[in-house]
Structure formats: structure tokens, C-alpha cells
């Protein structure tokens, strides 16, 4: 295990940021921590990186406390936002990070891998948002770490830049584990071998992207009429009622419509729409939206 959280709780005053959270990152895994803003993602990362201590529970980074320097020798991380010293050049910053590790990548190779070789002499203060994100990623991998932790690696970028960065991350992933946070479902699906969903500090889901897609790829079907019997359906669906409408959340709305027709159930005002990520969280937490 590269990193493991066992029943980790953390509060800031009255606010509970993590509530008995357990998950882990194994060798060669790419794990996405997915959740809405304020879900506890940053707190979890802070604790994994040794920046903060858990109130209770056990956190192990390579079998040691993350606050120990020795554990962090095998770890790489991205800086948040674009918080580089403005006056330093890109190559100086990468060389600085590389100097902390026993077997770092060559600075040139690290710049090449993240597509910023032509920016080597540029001052960090003059980089664009996308260029800063690339430099941040280059730093996470510069020490050739066994585990790279990427905090919201593409937040604030447009869709196309985001996709290009995914390719770069995939290229850098060979032979190591990656843990990254995101609030883009698409990003988690594109990169991760395993997805961990947290909300309000609690673990809601831990599984592979296909399993997640079955739940998050769900669509919402609304109509006036009675809900179908769950046993008769033969596939999962969840139900809610609002304003005389039946609301069905399921992965296969087509099959549901066919079942409505087949069973001769009376229905009107039929509407189908993709379920939002929020709907998906609600269906997992067992809440219902009216």
C-alpha cells in the first residue's frame, strides 16, 4: 500500500471535515478523489501530504506517518493554484524540487514531458493559467516519486486544455501510483483506475469507473402516472414523487419506457434528462430531491 487512510476523522472547530474516512492507494493505481466543493477533498490531501494531522484514525504513507521526511522522499505533489515565486525561472523551480530527491528526472526531461521546455527561461510570474498547471504537474513528477498527489490538476482550464493535460498525466503515470482530486466526473472517468467519492467528509463510493458510470451515468425520467414495480423491471432504478409526477433515476431509461408500454401503464408528460452529479450524490447518500 502506498497510502492508506483508516477511519480518519478531522474537525476544524465545530465543522467536521472528515468523518471516519477509509480508503487507500495501491501500487500502480490511479485513484481519483471525486466530490463537490467542500466535500473534504483538500483536507484529505493535506493529511496525506503531512500538512495537517488527523484527529483520530490512522494515516500511513509508505507505512510511515506522512509528517516524517523519510516518507515524503517517495512522494511528489503539486503546489496549489499558481503559487510560484514570481521572479524564479521555470527551470530553476524544477531544479529546486528535483534537488530534494535521490533519483530525480533530469530537469530538461521533466520540462519536455510536460510540454514546457520552451518556457524554461520564463519567469514563473509571467506564465498563463495552463502553463502554471503544467509546471505544477512537472513538479509533482520531477523527483520520480512512487506516488504523485495532484490537487485539482486541471481546475480553471477550458475543456480542450484539460484533455491535453490528461494525456500528459497518463504519460507520466507509468510505473507509479497517482492520487488526484477533482470535481469533474469526466476527469475521474478519463484518468482513474479507481474512483473514491466523498461528500461531507464521508466515503460514498469506492470502486472502478465502470461501476461508477452505472450510477453517475444515470438519467432522470419524469412522468405523470404510477411507478412500476421494481421486481418487474429487472434493472436498478430509484423512485421519487413530486407534484403528482413520478421521478425515476436509472441508467437505462429506454428500457424503462419499454416496460411502461409493455405493462400497459398509463402515463403522460414524459420527460427524460441526464441526472446531474448532484442527483447522483443524492441517490448515493439516500437523499431525495423534490
Amino acid at each position: 500500500m502506498m497510502l492508506s487512510f483508516e477511519n480518519v476523522s478531522k474537525s476544524y472547530g465545530q465543522t467536521r471535515a472528515l468523518d471516519s474516512l477509509s480508503f487507500g492507494v495501491d501500487r500502480d493505481e490511479i485513484v481519483a478523489v471525486l466530490g463537490p466543493n467542500g466535500a473534504g477533498k483538500t483536507t484529505a490531501i493535506d493529511i496525506a501530504l503531512g500538512l495537517r494531522a488527523a484527529d483520530s484514525g490512522t494515516v500511513e504513507l509508505f507505512g510511515e506517518s506522512p509528517s516524517r521526511v523519510a516518507a515524503r522522499r517517495r512522494l511528489g505533489a503539486t503546489p496549489q493554484e499558481s503559487g510560484f515565486p514570481d521572479a524564479l525561472r521555470v527551470e530553476e523551480i524544477v531544479a529546486f524540487t528535483a534537488a530534494h530527491f535521490d533519483r530525480p528526472s533530469a530537469v530538461r526531461a521533466a520540462l519536455d514531458a510536460f510540454g514546457i521546455a520552451d518556457l524554461a527561461k520564463r519567469r514563473a510570474g509571467t506564465l498563463s493559467g495552463g502553463q502554471s498547471r503544467r509546471l505544477a504537474l512537472a513538479l509533482a513528477f520531477a523527483g520520480n516519486p512512487e506516488l504523485a498527489v495532484l490537487d485539482e490538476p486541471t481546475t480553471g482550464l477550458d475543456v480542450e486544455s484539460r484533455r491535453r493535460l490528461w494525456d500528459v498525466v497518463r504519460g507520466a503515470a507509468a510505473g507509479r501510483s497517482i492520487l488526484f482530486t477533482t470535481h469533474y466526473l469526466e476527469e475521474a472517468e478519463a484518468l482513474a483506475t479507481r474512483i473514491v467519492v466523498i461528500d461531507r467528509g464521508r466515503l460514498l463510493f469506492d470502486g472502478d469507473p465502470r461501476q461508477l458510470r452505472d450510477r453517475f451515468g444515470a438519467r432522470r425520467l419524469t412522468y405523470v402516472g404510477d411507478p412500476l414495480e421494481t421486481q418487474a423491471l429487472g434493472f436498478p432504478a430509484s423512485f421519487a414523487r413530486a407534484d403528482g409526477h413520478t421521478i425515476v433515476t436509472t441508467a437505462d431509461t429506454d428500457a424503462y419506457v419499454r416496460a411502461l408500454v409493455r405493462t400497459g401503464t398509463a402515463f403522460s408528460d414524459l420527460e427524460i434528462a441526464p441526472a446531474s452529479l448532484e442527483d447522483a450524490f443524492l441517490s448515493i447518500t439516500g437523499g431525495s430531491k423534490t
Binding site: 495537517r52 515524503r72 503546489p79 534537488a99 530534494h100
Partner: protein, 247 residues
């Protein structure tokens, strides 16, 4: 990586960053030598005794400025910033980062003081032996300690926005009232009463003892007291910051 290599890497980026920031280099390195030239050169050019005292006073001011800006403003502005947070995820202890800060401050302090000494050597009849210069160096290192701690106190107790005006006000007021810009006997009577109790005056007294041979017992006691005071305040501020940001 050996601790030495890490201290080197950290001081390298700190120095590069500072040397490329005119807003840091001008007040710390240029001002002491420039003010020395403007205020005192006229008189010091012809009189060796005045040259000695004035040069040493401005060298003290040079060291004080670096201590207050590099630690006070530096810490206040970096505290809690993403880059500081990032550095804490690297395999280097807090001690390494602190040692790098000390080292880069030594470089700037030496440079700022050397600029004053150079102006004095070129334009005044200042006449210190090699041994005396060594004494000046050793005393400056020792007397710089309470100012470094004063700087750290500012760094941890004052916001990033307020740190520059506060460090500047402390630097200028203490330099003036401590008699670093003009001989203390020319200060207004009230200021003369306070002056001996100020750490800037005590720093100057310590350096002046190199040329006048007097034992500055009061100055040494005063600097020791300030070291204790700011040592306590600095360590409390540091712990408070660690508790709130990284607990």
C-alpha cells in the same frame, strides 16, 4: 539528499528571488550606503574619528534592515502561501528552510554592510585594522540576533499587508532614535533620554567599542534582554501559526 545540499538548494532559490526584486534590494542594500553618503560623507571625509563612528553606525543599520525585511516582511508574506505549503510537502525539514533563510540573510547583510564599508574606504580616512574589521564582523553577527528575532516576531504576528509599513517604521524610527544617522548627542533631548534603551543604539555602541575601546556593558545587557524578549515573542508567534495552519 544531504542536509547541506538541501540548504544550498533552498538558499539558492531564496537569493535568486530576492536579488531579482528591486523592492527588496534597494532598501536593504542600496539605502544604507546611499544615506551614509548623503548624510555623513561631507563631515566624515575630513575627520577620521567621525568617519569611524558614522561608518560603523551605518553598517549596523545595514544589518538591522536586512534582519527586519528578510525575516519580518519575508515571513509575513510567505506564511500560508501556496508556495510555502508546497515546500512543506517536500522531503526537507523546517530546520532546512530556516537555515536557508539565515544563510540568505547573511549574504544580504554582509553585502549591505560591505557597501557602506566600501563607500567609507573610498571617500573617508577611516582607518581600522584587519583585526578591528574582524571584530566588527563578529559583533555584527551577535548583535544581529535580537533583530532577526524581532523580524521573526513581526513576520508571525503581523499580516502580510501590514508587515512592510511596520518593518519600515520600526527600521527608520529605531535608526533615527538610536543615533545611527547622527551622533546621539545631536538628537533632541527627549530622544537622547530614550536612545540608550533602544536596541539600535546598543548595536551601535557595541560596534563603536571596537574603535573607542570602552566596554559597553549596558549595551550588551540590553541586547541580551531584547534577544530574550523577541525570542519568546517569535517562538510564540511561530507556534501559533503552526497550530492554526498546520494542525
Amino acid at each position: 539528499m544531504t542536509a547541506l545540499a538541501l540548504v544550498r538548494a533552498h538558499s539558492r532559490v531564496a537569493l535568486l528571488d530576492l536579488f531579482r526584486s528591486p523592492s527588496y534590494v534597494v532598501p536593504t542594500v542600496v539605502f544604507p550606503a546611499m544615506f551614509f553618503a548623503l548624510f555623513d560623507l561631507q563631515v566624515a571625509r575630513t575627520q577620521a574619528a567621525i568617519a569611524d563612528f558614522a561608518t560603523l553606525a551605518f553598517m549596523a543599520w545595514a544589518v538591522i534592515g536586512v534582519a527586519l525585511y528578510q525575516f519580518g516582511v519575508g515571513i509575513a508574506q510567505e506564511r500560508g502561501r501556496p508556495w510555502e505549503r508546497y515546500q512543506r510537502t517536500l522531503p526537507a525539514s523546517a530546520l532546512i528552510r530556516f537555515a536557508a533563510r539565515i544563510l540568505s540573510a547573511l549574504v544580504f547583510g554582509a553585502l549591505a554592510a560591505a557597501c557602506v564599508a566600501l563607500v567609507a574606504r573610498v571617500f573617508t580616512p577611516i582607518d581600522l585594522t584587519a583585526l578591528q574589521w574582524l571584530q566588527v564582523l563578529a559583533y555584527s553577527l551577535a548583535a544581529g540576533v535580537p533583530f532577526v528575532l524581532f523580524g521573526i516576531t513581526i513576520g508571525y504576528w503581523v499580516s502580510a499587508r501590514a508587515a512592510v509599513p511596520i518593518a519600515t517604521a520600526a527600521n527608520l524610527l529605531l535608526a533615527y532614535a538610536g543615533g545611527l544617522w547622527m551622533p546621539p548627542q545631536y538628537l533632541p533631548a527627549v530622544v537622547q533620554q530614550i536612545s540608550p534603551f533602544l536596541p539600535t543604539r546598543q548595536f551601535a555602541e557595541l560596534l563603536w567599542s571596537v574603535v573607542d575601546g570602552r566596554m559597553p556593558a549596558n549595551a550588551i545587557a540590553g541586547l541580551a534582554a531584547y534577544t530574550l524578549l523577541f525570542g519568546v515573542l517569535a517562538s510564540r508567534g511561530y507556534r501559533r501559526d503552526e497550530r492554526t495552519r498546520y494542525a
